[in-house]
């Protein structure tokens, strides 16, 4: 791990360095630990406090406390335990059932046993795209709040290509529809990027406004031009079979190719940001626009480029949902993926690998929450509270450092890009 000893670096080593920076202490292992410690402890603390909320909102616990203190404590423990067991089995699967299914050798049963974890991956996929969109923007010094809107536009353009272009084989139709989604999102990112570069209008304000335009625009599209003929509900026609992302298993398992596309795109973003001159350019301008200008970068072009690429990634999130899950465009189909993405990019330290890991966490929690609601009667909102607390701890690492008496300060490159709320850059 010591770069001086071995100047030739492979991809993995460069990636490690990106995570470990700055390398000042001799023990490289402790650096990795430092970067991971805060998110990890934040998740643990979030889960613990989430348990407290579950207990506080449980009717049974109060009833048990009215009987006796001991049974109250027992009920409290049971409430929290059952909820998290439900969350776990909902998100990952029931280990006992998996084992039994594997022993029985029944294909259908095996697929069903593995469905929860596969469904978690289905939920993870749009998060990966969205998180990458935000992370790329952050690294380049722009704060893309408009991922949600870009998802809608990307989904709309993708759906349109999906149902209106016929006669293509899947091998062409799928890439074309994905491209349409990316371009739709890119357009929606380009506009605020261009506005910022040309007029100085702050991208935070403009992307939020672009969100509203996107929501209402897709409303109008679904009630008007894109409405499926003969349908009462405002939904678009189903996309053609040739535009659907292939699923790996029979219904009801929805696990589809999108997950692997997302992983590939994550690697591509990593490669772009950390291995190419374009990525270096973006990161340089993002970390210090003055130095970027001094070093000869075209700062305005980079802002537009970053917003456009960020929008394209968000558009892919929309395309993925249309082509892999819903197969049509419906109102409010995204339900907050774009906004959660901002949070999980932060959780993932704006690094593609971190984004993938954070997306897995969010996707799993989101999927497990449904099961928790059904099995343990815990309102799904608890998960929102849980996520909120995890993020709060991430965003304010001082809390975690104080609670666990961590002495080091984590310095990460990604963190500085959050400057630039105010003023011109």
């Amino acid at each position: 791990m010591n770069a001086q000893e071995n100047p030739k670096q492979d991809a993995g080593k460069v990636l490690l360095e990106e995570i470990q920076k700055p390398i000042q202490h001799p023990k490289a292992g402790s650096r990795v630990l430092q970067v991971i410690a805060i998110p990890f402890l934040a998740v643990v603390t979030g889960l613990l406090l989430g348990g407290v909320f579950i207990i506080l909102t449980s009717e049974e616990v109060y009833a048990a406390f009215r009987q006796s203190f001991g049974s109250g404590l027992l009920a409290a423990w049971r409430a929290a335990w059952q909820s998290y067991v439900a969350l776990f089995t909902g998100a990952i699967g029931d280990p006992a059932r998996i084992v039994a299914a594997l022993q029985s050798g029944d294909g259908l049963e095996i697929r069903r046993a593995f469905n929860p974890i596969l469904e978690s991956l289905v939920n993870t996929t749009p998060y990966i795209f969205g998180g990458l969109a935000v992370a790329l923007g952050f690294r380049a010094g722009v704060f893309n709040i408009g991922v949600e809107g870009q998802i809608f536009i990307g989904a709309a353009t993708c759906a349109f290509v999906g149902y209106s272009v016929s006669g293509l084989p899947a091998i062409l139709h799928i890439p074309l529809a994905l491209l349409a989604g990316a371009l739709g999102g890119a357009l929606w990112g380009f506009i605020p990027g261009w506005l910022k570069a040309k007029t100085g209008g702050h991208e935070v304000i403009n992307t939020i406004m672009m969100n509203y335009i996107a929501f209402r625009l897709s409303d109008w599209l679904l009630r008007g031009p894109m409405k499926a003929p003969g349908q009462h509900n405002p939904v678009s026609p189903k996309i053609l079979e040739t535009a659907m992302l292939p699923r790996f298993f029979e219904s009801p398992i929805r696990f589809h190719l999108g997950f692997f596309i997302a992983l590939a795109v994550a690697y591509l973003v990593y490669w772009f940001m950390f291995k190419t001159t374009w990525g270096f350019d973006l990161r340089m301008v993002g970390a210090n626009p003055h130095a970027g200008r001094y070093a000869g970068s075209n700062v305005t072009r980079n802002i537009v480029l970053a917003m456009t690429l960020s929008g394209a990634l968000a558009g892919l999130a929309g395309a993925n949902e249309v082509m892999g899950v819903n197969h049509n465009l419906a109102m409010a189909f995204s339900s907050g993926y774009g906004f959660d993405s901002i949070a999980l990019a932060l959780l993932g330290n704006n690094h593609p690998l971190g984004v993938v890991l954070a997306s897995l966490l969010f996707g799993t929690l989101r999927n497990g929450a449904t099961r928790m609601q059904v099995a343990a009667g815990i309102p799904i909102d608890i998960i929102a509270i849980l996520q909120a607390m995890i993020l709060m701890f991430i965003a304010a690492p001082a809390i975690i450092r104080t609670i666990y008496r961590l002495r080091f300060k984590v310095q990460v490159e990604g963190a500085v890009t959050i400057r630039g709320w105010g003023g011109k850059s």
């Binding site: 770069a3 210090n288 310095q411």
Partner: protein, 524 residues
Amino acid sequence: MEPVLELRGITKRFPGVLANDHINLDLMPGEIHALLGENGAGKTTLMNILYGLYQPDEGEILVRGKKVEIHSPNDAIAAGIGMVHQHFMLVPVFTVTENVMLGEESTRYGDFLDTRKAAAQIHQISEQYSLEVNPDSYIKDLPVGVQQRVEIIKLLYRKADILILDEPSAVLTPQEVGELFKIMRSLTEQGKSIIFITHKLREVLEIADRITVIRAGKVIGTTRPQEADESTLARMMVGREVELVLEKPEYKPGKVVLKVDNILVTDDRRQIAVDGVSFEVRAGEVLGVAGVQGNGQTELVEALTGLRQVVSGAVTFLGENITNVSPRRIIELGSAHVPEDRQRDGLVLPFSVMENLFLCTYYKPPFTKGPVIQWDVALKNAEELISRFDIRTPGALTNVGALSGGNQQKVIVARELSRPIQLLVAAQPTRGLDVGSIEYIHGQILDRRNAGVAVLLVSTELAEIMQLSDRIAVMYRGKIVAEVLAEEATKEYLGLLMAGVPQDEARKQVGPIEAKAVRGRELY
């Protein structure tokens, strides 16, 4: 007489570093005691201990003969110790009065602020110590020198009588330094005691009553200005002989490299900052641009390096018109730029030393193959430059923000001077640096000059200009008011020109100037 402050055996360890090693120091009433040392010698750690920001591992602090425990700045203030930090702690959108009151608000009718009373008190303080300041001005409208006065008033308002001034002159113009020294004298005459932290030898000799030199966390010795001179102090500070006067081969100017023709440049507020300036810089010469900060030098440099729009006029570099072309084009033609504000323009602080060392050339071979960056080449390049330019860093992958100011500047110098260049534009290349780094950077600049590079040196340090330049241009209110050969310039003459005295009148006042007047003697 009993010392007003005494430090006995102060020791402070940080992981892997002994920052302060049994330091003894005493301060007499009415004394200016200079604490001299290179960056990283442990001066600031010691003062932070005194100010309650760190706790010493060993040793004790005595104020007026009584042992005190200082756990916070509040304890320090209570003991009568006040500190003016290098970077001011003021609220820019508050008035002077509000800033002074902050944390120590005087009130009436319960919780209503009594600004009038505070303003009167500030007025009284500023009369008493000749600290001229308008209590109703907003901080953001005040020049740096006056902001510093506000910091001092803050301490006096809190009844501090031991004042610690941490590198107070680093941010000031020569004129402001003069005023600061007057204020310091007036303070000590009225019984205040001052610890003056600095690494500028000349200032120490001018103002201090006693000088304590520390190096690598240890006290090397205490002396008096009458018994010391610059070279002895420099030797104590650095631990070896320091070349205060650099050897300079004969002045042999070559072809014109940079030609500036009647350019007009505006500042951020769209006021004219550079007003019809023309000059030439030839190969193998250093043209020094002297002037008090804020007379258009910053804007001039930015215009020449492509960072600021030229409104009219032309800039020609090796025969090519570079007026309003992109910074990258100017760099590619063979121009290097050591920017005035190194942390803002010259470096990306959260990036590694390696990345900062190829900041201007990352996009072309050998650092790239197609669009892909060759990190192994970048690392090799970094390691080579680190050893060649003696950059003190734990490694090539350390964040540049973690280095000391001197080493940060060395990173910039290494990057800019390692390229094949024809022109070097250096703005304030040694501001805030210690003697060792200054010596090194000056040597590098002269090396380039001797190798035939045209150098434009912009500095507010007159000594630096006189040490390095072959010709000196003086800038005043956006115009070049005089251009003289370095041999014919004296400090007095340049000082008058910088203050706006017309050339012929300045010459009359100074009298005949002997060619080859003592040069470089008063550096640092």
